[in-house]
């Protein structure tokens, strides 16, 4: 099954080093701008499913505010603990600055 590229946000609303929780096609999505690269993840922590946009993003790593699990923002892989990872969605930025996400 192929998904579709749905509009999630405008790039100029998501500054470098910032993240935002949005809803795309009924799916809660976390958008992160890492030095200009945008990533999209399911907005649920792999630990106990709390929303990740309440956490802390220092530009490189994301810390879940509930129990302090830490993830690498660029790869989505767990830093501490390191045996987990965020669920990522394909994400792209159009010429006009529209961030699009494919939630499948």
């Amino acid at each position: 099954m192929t998904g579709q590229w749905q509009e999630a946000m405008q790039l100029d609303e998501l500054w470098e080093g910032e993240m935002a929780g949005v809803e795309v096609g009924g799916e809660k999505v976390l958008l992160m701008n890492i030095d200009g690269d945008v990533r999209a993840y399911r907005n649920r922590c792999p630990h106990q499913a709390w929303a990740l946009d309440e956490g802390d993003f220092d530009g490189e790593t994301l810390t879940c505010s509930r129990h302090l699990w830490v993830f690498d923002a660029r790869s989505g892989s767990g830093v501490n603990p390191d045996n987990c990872r965020l669920t990522s969605f394909p994400c792209r930025v159009d010429e006009d600055g529209t961030i699009r996400v494919d939630v499948g």
Partner: protein, 411 residues
Amino acid sequence: MTTKRCVLVGGGVAAASAAAHLRKRGFDGDVVLVGEETAAPYERPPLSKEFLTGPPELVRPLTPDWYAANGVELRLGVRAVALDVAGRSVGLSTGERLGYDDLVLATGVRPRRLSGFDGEGVHYLRTAADAGRLRAELATARRIAILGAGFIGCEVAASATALGTQVTLFEPEPAPLARVLGAAIGAVLMDIHRERGVEIRPGEHVTALDRGRHGFVLTTSRGDRVEADLVVVGIGSVPNVELGQDAGLAVANGGLAVDEYGRTSAPHVYAAGDVAAQHHPRYGTRIRVEHHDTAVRQGANVAANLAGEVTPFEEAHWFWSDQYEHSLQSTGRMGAFDSVVLRGRLADRSFSAFSLVDGRIQGVISLNRPGDVLAARRMLFAPHEVTAEQLADESLPLKRLMPRTKTASRA
């Protein structure tokens, strides 16, 4: 050359974290984890929360197949009954003797029991088995009595309330968690429970428990009689030090005394987690912490030391407690509660109470502001200088008060 063997005693998160980090840091000897419970290591925090109100699933730090895949031998349902420090071996409940090159004691704590309060319908909560029994009985209970408004008592009160059970909560102190939170925040918590219909009875304790024809009748220190279908006792814990203590290991603050590297007073014997009273270089004193995050981090630290990356444990302590939709978090150490700096308002139930000494944050307790705790945790041991006015000013992001050095920001 012989292979080294590291034995981990205790099947909680501290032991699991030690196992994971031994392998992560390249320890290639034998690792044996001896745990009295039959379940492989799991997280206890959900046991008083989601496990009672939702599906009874265990949250595990490591998947069950991780152990075999990483050559970690699990000896579950087995208790370590004797320690021979000179001979470097532990005696097991199976009658075997297990030799070790290094030993980690991560035996945790057990609930403190109240004499005369046991038997059917009386619950203590520590293990998945305990939680399973409580969950089953909560399903049909109409009224429960909880003795002690500590973390376990308050969380069980919230969970039982969510299930539609009427709760009476007894607490000898003037407010729940008063010693941890201080009187003012304790009072906020008391209001939260009362609004949800919990009958909370501060300054009152239960003196006798009688079984009636329909459940229990409790006699209180005020002479009242209160009925309940089941009873939960949450009056603190007792560290499982006996194995080490009987072998002559030094004890402090009720736990096994360890230095900043996790070493006990006996060679090649380490301790981590709830059972360990560890010297903390940042405070210059021994501290025993009974919270999940510290247990995980101490387990990891001991493993690093065993694998040769000798580093002291000097991380910030941090804990959370969830009650109803409220999230309570804290980091550092609180000083006097009457001099805290408040960010946000108690009445809004969204606030952080900072302990500020000489322009430095010593600790914070937060209700529903986890971001403040994260920021404070980063600042605790990093150079910084803030004023009470800055902390109280909600228009000023805490992040802005943080020192800009990268090295200081990651614990």
